[in-house]
Subunit: 366 residues, 2 copies
């Protein structure tokens, strides 16, 4: 049982067994589906948790900033993809890291390749970002002019070795239920196949990389895919549960927040746990208003499974307001800890900055 | 002119002259209105910026956590109010700090006073939080039973010295324009007068403390008030501008974010600057969808004043998507820095963790 009495301020609590189970399940799925597992480490950003991936055979990772790439390179990861469009202002840092590890970068514009060629003294691998329908960024499969420009600049490149195409089907976050997730997944694979067609004759070894957590959690086959890069599955969260990517039992992390006030007439708790701890990412609640987390009490072996009857309904900088159902009202006294299942584990973990396992061990992160 | 070429990753840029002007203006208003100025330091959380307040005569401050209180106490601030309901789990830290400075705490429940009496060895001042209509937390002026219980426990107290009543009219954030702000302000002062009435015969020296940035920025008189505690006015932001609490010229802080991709067909930029840099606090945009910041280019002397024609319309962990108006499209190239005026300066400053002044000096924060 977690040493709850030691917790004074909002803290992240990890169920290590669940984290390891999530990692193993995804590694097994990748193996079964014949795809490389290159997990995204932006969610946990922790060297120690990274080592749990090594234990199941992972040797290559994904990150979303050079800062993260360096942090993990310093812990022995030597095959790292930065799955974020190259930031030209970090060229010196890119070159330095490229001298130490197999570094793979992401380009949206052919001009990026030219800039890398001009400024780097060390070799990098390159993926081109494909817009598979999410429309955040990337090259559309049908954008022939851009693909031709890419081929042109890549043909003459010395430092930049073209590796393949990469996408993030982030519109799977709007899906609800397995069928809708799989539909997004299929559409993404179709877009990738079309983009691959443009390049396959010139680059027969071209790699296809995909990887949002909903698709990787739910889809059972990945035709035409060489690697998957899911990240949030390591902890899962309320958003993933809402999408249908996980069961509430799979969520491996909560924020433990002290109860500092109680308002019985409106059945609301005030938590020490606000926007600077949980983040203002919300999901839609039953009345259409945003919900910033589900709240539960603590049992003998950790937090109880939240059922959604106690919800964080408002956040200011340090305050979290929880609306509690009648049946649970007596479970929370002033001075108790509440367990908040976060909406978006990546953002909450980023804000709280370290983890404590159920047996009280502290795990640091970047 | 800011040394923009040194900025590689998302960073906060401060216009020190504007910050100092905001501080001076609020100090002058407090003096003119005959109220003590006890600024809230949760917004900047910086010892150096704290010293700028000392230069205009400020000697007493407000914070929202014990961690902040300790940070500023270590820089010589010896009169500190923690304007957040007492967290019973931090009793040892409270007692330690109470041994070093004049520490004032906030209670919502009479039981808090009993707990402090039982566990503290050093004296603290106490404010009772009044709910003046915001309904986040606090005692309603008409809640006679609770006021009577407070009087009861305070009468016998040794370590806890009752100082007065405190409120935060946070519903001023829903106001639009000076008239609505002043209406909230008046209503709050009425609630405080009513709460004071209950206690005034027993506590003739009772202090009345108020302090949201919109009311303190706009209201011209504070009848019955002894001190004001605004915080966000130090930087101001898009939310304050939207409310009508400041002019865009008063906003003293932006996030400088590298442009990493451009999508001309939908006139969108991709910024290195996402939810982990800007926060997901939004204001309603012209089409009803949330906006996470206004974007402008850089001129000779700093960022240009944003007009709202370029807006951050979506945020993922590290990506910010900006919709740009036709007239400004050519101002932003890949590799440039964009200036994002944040929606909520407190949250963005918390995420970015340090400041850089326009002349390139780095200012640390907690």
């Amino acid at each position: 049982m977690v040493k709850l009495d030691r917790i004074q301020r909002p803290e992240l609590i990890l169920d290590e067994a669940k984290v390891r189970r999530n990692i193993e399940a995804m590694a097994q799925k990748a193996e079964k589906c014949g795809v490389r597992f290159r997990p995204h480490f932006k969610t946990h950003q922790s060297r120690e948790i990274g080592r749990w991936f090594r234990e199941v055979g992972v040797t290559a990772i994904t990150v979303s900033s050079l800062t993260m790439a360096r942090y993990f390179a310093d812990d022995g990861w030597d095959d790292v993809t930065v799955a974020f469009p190259v930031n030209l202002r970090e060229m010196a840092a890119i070159d330095d890291l490229a001298s130490r590890i197999r570094l793979h970068l992401l380009a949206v514009h052919p001009e990026t390749v030219e800039a890398l060629e001009r400024d780097l003294r060390h070799p990098v691998g390159l993926f081109i970002k494909v817009d598979c329908g999410y429309h955040r960024t990337g090259v559309l499969p049908e954008d022939t002019a851009t693909w031709e420009r890419f081929v042109e600049v890549l043909q003459g490149s010395r430092q930049v070795a073209f590796r393949g195409i990469l996408t993030h089907a982030g519109h799977s976050y709007k899906a609800r239920g397995a069928d809708e997730i799989v539909a997004v997944h299929r559409q993404a694979l179709k877009a990738m196949a079309r983009a691959k067609e443009v390049l396959a004759s010139l680059y027969p070894d071209l790699q296809v990389s995909v990887g949002d957590t909903p698709s990787c959690s739910v889809a059972e086959d990945f035709p035409g895919v060489d690697e998957i890069r899911p990240g949030a599955f390591v902890f899962y969260d309320l958003m993933q549960h809402r999408i249908g990517a996980c069961a509430m039992e799979d969520v491996a992390m909560v924020a433990a927040c002290p109860v500092v006030a109680r308002h019985p007439q409106r059945r609301e708790l005030v938590l020490y746990g606000g926007a600077v701890h949980l983040s203002k990412d919300g999901v839609e609640g039953p009345d259409g208003a945003p919900v910033y987390g589900w709240v539960s009490a603590w049992g003998e072996d950790g937090w109880e499974l939240p059922t959604g009857c106690c919800r964080v309904i408002a956040l200011s900088q340090e305050h979290g307001i929880v609306r509690v159902c009648p049946e649970h009202w007596d479970r929370f006294r002033v001075g108790d800890l509440a367990a908040v299942t976060p909406v978006h584990c990546c953002l909450t973990a980023n804000l709280l900055g370290a983890y404590r396992t159920l047996d009280g061990r502290v795990i640091t992160r970047l």
